[in-house]
Symmetry: C2
Subunit: 207 residues, 2 copies
């Protein structure tokens, strides 16, 4: 009863994350009610993003070019490196405006349960970047670093990844830090989970 091309569109849309069947129908209708040009712009942006986006040769973040905008930006602090799990983490940190250094994207976290081992991540490339004698020439990072910031998530996997990294980089004698863990801004004690409360308590600081 549902026209073939409509059914096909709904089917393809419902494969996307956070799009259920009902949302897929709603989106499909929305698309049909758009002008031809607008629909073409949407379809083209999908193809273009897929075709032109790649991983930056140095930080392995998302980039339109061989080297991303951050790695090729001369005003960034080049003796600070922040290690994140996903390319999107870079955008989150950039939005917060709290960091002006360089990045390294691991493309995942160490997760035995999901079968992700350290060798599946870009850890070998990170180690290479930090060794003065093996470092690729054009890599903007200035060695030795003043600080290596581990900005992995505060999950078990993120913790394990940070510990693994700290261990693997131990011989380089770097100044390694990790993002603070505690109550989120606007967070009330009543709603904080036990683990967060414990973290924020043990990490308490003099004001």
């Amino acid at each position: 009863m549902v026209p073939r091309s409509f059914k096909k569109l709904v089917f393809e849309l419902s494969k996307l994350p956070s799009v259920g069947e009902r949302s897929a129908y709603r989106i499909a209708y929305h698309i049909l009610n758009k002008k031809n040009e607008e629909v073409k712009i949407l379809a083209d942006s999908i193809i273009l993003a897929k075709e032109s986006l790649r991983w930056c040769s140095f930080c392995h973040g998302l980039s339109d070019d061989l080297v991303c905008e951050i790695c090729s930006n001369s005003s960034r602090l080049k003796d600070q490196l922040c290690v994140v799990e996903r390319p999107s983490d870079i955008f989150s940190l950039e939005r917060s405006g709290s960091y002006r250094g360089l990045y390294h994207v691991l493309h995942g976290s160490w997760s035995p349960l999901r079968g992700v081992k350290p060798e599946h991540l870009t850890i070998d490339k990170l180690i290479k970047r930090l060794h003065i004698n093996t470092k690729v020439n054009e890599d903007p990072v200035i060695l030795p670093l003043s600080e290596l910031i581990l900005a992995t998530s505060t999950t078990i996997e993120g913790d394990a990844t940070s510990l693994y990294l700290a261990d693997a980089l131990d011989e380089l004698k770097l100044n390694v830090t990790r993002l603070a863990q505690g109550l989120p801004k606007g967070g009330e004690l009543e709603y904080a989970d036990d683990m967060t409360l414990r973290m924020s308590f043990s990490g308490r600081r003099r004001i």
Copy 2:
């Protein structure tokens, strides 16, 4: 910092209904992690649906062809016509399996607040379909109808539209019905709103 083509994709995705900025990011990443062919299939399905879908010449529902699958289906009951607001309402009713007749899509409801007048809907076309002497020859509907079912939504606009239709079609002396209103299946009295309770009470039936 966010690559241009990625930003563009997120921007286009976030225009879609029920897709916020965060979902748009998530969907964009998902698309980037897909194979090229899969991404092309998604983009093509958007373009194809937009290009090939049209309104059925008779019922004004969604169709791949000039006449939709329901209007051209010889096994449908052709002396019953069910009036709905949106093309998607047809799919909902078909899914419920409760109806075997034909449809007419109004493409909206009478809503003075949103500036939608009866003449913006396909009411004139409905009246034409129901007048034996003006009816388009190939229209599958068999006149006089045994029943005209008003399946507009149970909102103020839907009620107003049904009343307007009943009035406009009065001279045709049709057997006009409206979908029952009351408690939804699985609904508990405690959670029903007053209006629904009133409806279900005044429409109570002997069992």
